[in-house]
């Protein structure tokens, strides 16, 4: 249960840094990272203010990177506060400590599902306080008064007051412990069609993203990190760099070197002319072939058992027949279209940082460490991100900006080029999936085995623990599934690499879902069973919501019909990040071996869809992003260096390949689930299954590339 607080104006100023009047409420989310009011001070995560001029300002801790949650959060407040849509302005809060704000991180598909309860409670509490204030002024029971679009009405007398006329009195009312929430049938905005709050400024060029931010006197810098993973900077010769007009300084930073100039072009040109001497470090011989061999070797080593049911090891030991297959997933780069950037202005031992980030608190910590100053001295202003997908959770680049600004004594914006972004990403981990199915003498399927061999995000810096402990995140989508396997053995073997890896939209769920849902298709084929029927049977009564999604996409795609010559149908389902999604795909392979996706039917169940069009956007976009990953994307390494540079060697699915995606939202009930990530995992297996149906070829290794025909 969230706690809602009345906020003293002085406290509010201290945390938000701007003035407000009237009624100010804060809400404290019951997050593990944000312990309750131990010290008796206010520890709200979100603020809602109702000002005397009727304006409502909502300070949100959650960044907007394109996922649309800002619009969904506004719907929650507008509905429960019962105000006109346009009266609410949303402002991004300054990054603050976790003890105050809880998690400000836009990750894990959490923004709506985590905030629906507490944010709605805060808005509903404010509404009740406004109603109570009006009732008091009129000397009537509060129960005779209602709130409607920014006014309180007294039905008996026909009197009404604007919220703005009531703010001071409302601020003196007790904060209701259990404010009454609207019934779903009373929703004015939630679950309804509404345009996004950020669309207008994204169609006329006026939206200010990180790279668009400007400060008076600001310099522009580009940075370069060691080309070899784990390498370091020895030194440089900047004689040619200094001849570039506009170049001001070359600065050594912890991560490498920065060229500072009066404009971006001078910085880029100066960097191109900089003769840099790099120390190659221990990974100069690293190659993708060696990494694949390591994963293969680790696949033969003794794994940790993550899950075993029905005495599976015994089942496999005594099986009459087994089939096996290896599925492989490469490193991926997030490649958001806005390159990595940050602006910093250091003044002595304090700093302001303006950054497009998914994790403002991470940026705060990184900046404080870079400046060796307390977090209280740092102000992090979060700007729009031109995409994130997990890359902007890391904040590794924030230190670049702080270090350069400190060195030159001026505000500076650092930018990574596309090449720098592609070659110095925090990659989606590589993984190998050894799948096995056991059958008894009568041909009955009796065992399921999935051994996950992967680079571990959790234990990358602590491999000793990783040898004895499961990385449960890395097993998402492999263990604990709703499928009732006849007997199951899920195994884990860490296989760390020198690459910097991190979360990529849906994290490990997609690799594990790919292996699971495609190998399940192999078993169906082996058993001569319909893949849909087999899935429904395995789901049994354990998750009717996934079963409903599968049935829906099967109906929509026309499962069971005979597709046009050369076309095939495939489907897959997932439950991850609290949400469920299924895809049915119709695909073919053309004469050149190119995969064509003709249509995707998508069903998503996130419980109540607060912002339905936002859900559709995430599903449509998730399909395209996952298609790019399935068909094209891979980061490879040679001589210790990432080989891909730009979009010519790290291509994205374009308009001519993007399929029609029809999204069906199915509300299977509480609780509200994640939306951003669930549409990713089932796409690659549904596509692999469709290509098998079309051609008889089983695609087990991503990227699929061209298919031999």
């Amino acid at each position: 249960m969230a706690e809602v607080f009345r906020i003293d104006r002085r406290d509010f100023l201290g945390v938000v840094g701007s003035a407000a009047g009237g009624l100010i409420l804060g809400v404290h989310l019951p997050l593990p990272a944000a312990p309750a009011r131990e010290t008796g001070e206010f520890k709200p995560n979100v603020f809602i203010t109702v000002e005397p001029d009727d304006r409502v300002v909502m300070y949100t801790p959650r960044p907007e990177m394109g996922q649309g949650s800002r619009t969904g959060l506004k719907m929650i407040v507008a509905d429960e506060l019962e105000v006109p849509w346009d009266s609410i302005e949303i402002r991004m809060a300054l990054a603050g400590p976790r003890e105050v704000w809880g998690s400000m991180t836009a990750g894990g598909s959490t923004s709506i599902r985590l905030f629906f309860g507490p944010l709605g409670d805060a808005a509903a509490a404010a509404r009740e306080m406004l109603v109570a204030a009006a009732a008091q002024r009129w000397g009537v029971p509060a129960g005779d008064c209602t709130a409607q679009l920014g006014r309180v009405l007294h039905e008996g007398s026909g009197r009404s007051l604007r919220y703005g006329e009531l703010t001071d009195d409302a601020a003196r009312q007790p904060v209701p412990a259990h404010p009454r929430r609207k019934e779903h049938s009373q929703f004015r905005y939630i679950g309804k069609e509404r345009p996004r709050v950020d669309t207008p400024e994204k169609v006329d060029g006026s939206a200010i993203y990180g790279l668009d931010f400007r400060r008076p006197g600001m310099k522009f810098a580009v940075v370069k990190r060691p080309p070899v993973i784990g390498g370091s900077l020895k030194g440089w010769d900047d004689a040619d760099t200094k001849t570039v007009r506009g170049v001001r300084q070359v600065v050594r930073i912890t991560a490498g070197v920065a060229v500072v100039a009066e404009n971006t072009w001078a910085a880029l040109k100066g960097m191109n002319r900089l003769k840099i001497d790099w120390e190659q470090g221990p990974n100069a011989g690293l190659s993708s072939a060696a990494i694949a061999a390591q994963l293969e070797r680790d696949g033969q080593a003794e794994p940790l058992v993550a899950e075993e049911t029905n005495n599976a090891r015994q089942v496999f030991a005594t099986a009459a027949r087994k089939i096996s297959a290896v599925y492989e997933c490469p490193f991926l780069s997030h490649s958001p279209l806005e390159p990595i950037n940050a602006t910093a202005e250091v003044n002595g031992d304090s700093a302001d940082v303006w950054v497009p980030t998914q994790a403002p608190q991470g940026a705060l910590m990184t900046a404080a460490q870079a400046l060796r100053a307390p977090v209280a001295n740092i102000r992090v202003h979060t700007l729009y991100s031109g995409g994130g997908f997990g890359r902007r959770l890391e904040n590794d680049w924030v230190a670049d900006a702080v270090e350069v600004s400190r060195a030159i004594g001026a505000p500076v914006q650092i930018m990574w080029t596309r090449e720098e972004d592609t070659t110095h990403g925090r990659y989606r981990p590589i993984s190998r999936h050894q799948m096995e199915a056991a059958f008894d003498a009568s041909g009955r399927w009796v065992g399921w085995r999935h051994r996950v061999i992967a680079h571990s995000n959790q234990f990358a810096s602590d491999p000793e623990r990783g040898r004895t402990q499961l990385d449960r995140g890395a097993l998402s989508g492999a263990m604990g599934l709703a499928y009732k396997w006849p007997a199951s053995l899920i195994e884990w073997r860490m296989s760390n690499t020198p690459l910097n890896c991190a979360a990529y939209r849906s994290v490990y769920a997609q690799q594990n879902c790919f292996a699971t849902e495609a190998f399940l298709d192999e078993i169906a084929h082996e058993l001569k069973r319909d893949p849909l029927e087999l899935r429904l049977e395995l789901l049994g009564g354990s998750d009717p919501r996934q079963a409903a999604l599968l049935r829906r996409v099967a109906d929509e795609i026309g499962w069971g019909r005979r597709p046009p010559e050369g076309h095939g149908l495939g489907l897959a389902v997932t439950y991850c990040f609290g949400g469920r999604a299924a895809h049915a795909v119709e695909a073919s392979v053309d004469r050149s071996g190119k995969i064509r996706v003709h249509r995707v039917e998508t069903a998503i169940d996130c419980g109540l869809a607060v912002f339905p069009d936002g859900v559709r956007q995430q599903a449509e976009g998730g399909v395209v992003m996952a298609m790019t990953g399935a068909i094209y994307s891979q980061i490879t390494v040679a001589n210790g260096q990432v080989q891909q540079r730009t979009f010519s060697d790290y291509p994205l699915v374009g308009m001519d390949e993007a399929p029609q995606v029809n999204v069906h939202i199915m509300d299977g009930g509480d609780p509200i689930g994640g939306v951003g990530e669930p549409p990713i995992p089932p796409l690659a297996p549904a596509l692999s299954n469709a290509i098998f149906a079309a051609t008889g070829q089983r695609l087990r290794r991503m990227p699929f590339g061209k298919v031999a025909v």
Partner: protein, 164 residues
């Protein structure tokens, strides 16, 4: 010191920059028109697209010396108030997610509609495939182009588009 004159969104500017400065940085850094986005710097993504003397150009590949005297339109110059039919269609179809690529997408769509008042899906594919979108807004871009062409409703949200 080299000096170049360009007319951007009907306003004349004289800029003192190196002759090899790509137009994208003149627009963004010198003139403060940040609606034009940098995405790759090598002409592969289309985010920096502007109109130079009536034709689409990737401003990361156009050196200022080649643009001297040119008449340039950027996203900021498409309309004063988002009233251009393509902007209106983009709003109606709720196209943008992160939005970084959309300035280029919109200007490319405007150009397409000049050449083909009622573009087919194949014409949309041909004209728009070089404009990358990482968020995956392609099907909404397609719908918005049809809508701007006056074909709103021709392709409904659940309608099937056959192409490829």
């Amino acid at each position: 010191m080299p000096s170049y004159t360009i007319t951007v969104n009907q306003k004349r500017h004289t800029v003192d920059v190196d002759e090899d400065t790509p137009l994208v940085w003149v627009l963004r850094d010198t003139l403060g028109l940040t609606g034009t986005k940098y995405g790759c710097g090598v002409g592969e993504c289309g985010s920096c697209t502007v109109v130079v003397n009536g034709s689409l150009a990737r401003s990361c590949l156009v050196q200022i010396s080649a643009a001297n005297g040119a008449v340039i339109q950027t996203i900021e110059g498409l309309s004063r108030d988002r009233s251009h039919p393509v902007q209106q269609a983009w709003i109606a179809e709720q196209v943008p997610q992160c939005g970084w690529c959309q300035s280029g997408q919109i200007l490319a769509a405007v150009d397409l509609l000049k050449a083909h008042a009622q573009p087919t899906d194949a014409e949309i594919d041909a004209a728009m495939s070089g404009y990358l979108c990482r968020c995956g807004t392609q099907q909404r871009i397609r719908r918005a182009i049809h809508r701007a062409a006056g074909g709103a409703g021709a392709v409904g949200s659940a309608g099937e588009v056959h192409h490829g």
